[in-house]
Symmetry: C2
Subunit: 222 residues, 2 copies
DNA sequence: GGCTAGAATGACCGGGTGGTCATTTTTCGC
DNA sequence: GCGAAAAATGACCACCCGGTCATTCTAGCC
């Protein structure tokens, strides 16, 4: 299930996998809760049950540890995106978006700490190595949606007049917000999205897809 | 132009307005750049050119100072929302949204530090006094959009089938993301939204409104 | 000018941070 | 069982934080 982190110094990679996992999980937990700046190496050390000196032998700096954690989070997200894309190739664009959302909720259920780190990074841009890295991650997300739109356009499912790049950005914003609100209490308080049950989530997915598909302007058919 | 802060201890309010403004602006700057947790009272003190003891006599705690700043930011946003609502009462729903966005860009141009604080708070939920406060601010924003939708529905401009609350949340998410991307470089890098010129912005507004109005699914007319 | 109430000051406090390194402990080939 | 090489350790460093308070300064009244 969990791939080896493949990060840190040679010393870290030579550790018994169980210990690697323990240290890495402690770091994931800490960064997920506190983001980068407010995360404490002392807390990681305590949670992992190792000494401070060891942690700094495994990852030379706080930034090194964070980079490793982010790399794992981003690669998990990439895998999940690819998976959804391949599994839904024959569906219509709107069905694909639907599946993308449901898979997103499921991803959060299974990797909620990594999801927190990933989305927190995307929202805050808070990274030691400059925000270009974050801009790139965002771009990849938007490009993923843009590709789906291009395919849909070629298939004639989507209006020819839509601006692919801008629309991809907007749809991505909707998806991100929905996913974030699923695990963030204060975002949609009282609207049933936070930790919503499957029926609730399905309702939200339908509302979002209705908006994206047909908009909300009244027309002759309504 | 700038109303007196009306916050802090009696001592602070009894200061010469020029000094009040200087201290307050230093705080606004610091919180805008660093958020709450990473903001430093020492930095505020330095930027304001006063002593640490004085700052703590003006605002008993860091939280007190932050609350004052947030209060101003939130009230400015409320004023701006009310203004847009009143000025656009006779327009159609979609024109109103359009004006809301343009006014939002303009608000950021004129109060970009306060805007940063406001949006940062909304996104991070990072506040000393628990996130209920943030949940409330978010709710007010969504309710504002929900009210617009209700009016539009009553006027027959909007499909009867739309879920007002959920749709308000989604539209609010779109507006927020667009506004944030206008002053945040890494959000829509390469898409021309960051510090975009008026023509660029108008294009984005049109794309967003097209999506909200009619969606992107191809129909018989297309 | 002298007095005093109240404002301004910054050294100081306890506690936290990321990071280092001399020392101790463990591992492992012989 | 021994010795050397490698890994683990935690006391320690310089620096920063929010907040306090004894002391100094200053404005305003007589």
């Amino acid at each position: 299930m969990n791939a080896p982190p493949l990060t840190g110094t040679e010393l870290f990679r030579s550790l018994r996998p169980e210990k690697q996992e323990r240290v890495f999980q402690a770091a994931v937990q800490e960064f997920a809760v506190n983001g980068y700046r407010n995360a404490s190496m002392n807390s990681v050390v305590k949670a992992a049950g190792i000494s401070k000196g060891s942690l700094f032998q495994y990852f030379r700096t706080k930034q090194g540890l964070f980079d490793g954690v982010v790399e794992i989070a981003a690669s998990r997200v990439r895998v999940y995106l690819k998976h959804v894309r391949d599994e839904t190739g024959r569906m219509s664009f709107f069905e694909r978006l639907e599946q993308l959302l449901h898979a997103g909720f499921s991803f959060i259920d299974h990797h909620h700490l990594l999801a927190r780190i990933y989305f927190h990074l995307l929202q805050s841009g808070e990274t030691p190595s400059g925000s270009e890295r974050v801009a790139l991650l965002r771009k990849q997300g938007v490009e993923f949606v843009a590709d789906l739109i291009r395919v849909a356009k070629a298939r004639g499912e989507v209006k020819r007049s839509v601006d692919v790049e801008r629309t991809a950005f907007l749809i991505n914003a909707l998806l991100e917000t929905l996913l974030r609100a699923y695990y963030t209490e204060f975002m949609a308080s009282g609207l049933g999205l936070y930790r919503g049950n499957p029926e609730e989530l399905a309702g939200w997915v339908q509302t979002a897809l209705g908006l994206i598909r047909e908009g909300i302007q009244r027309n002759d058919l309504d």
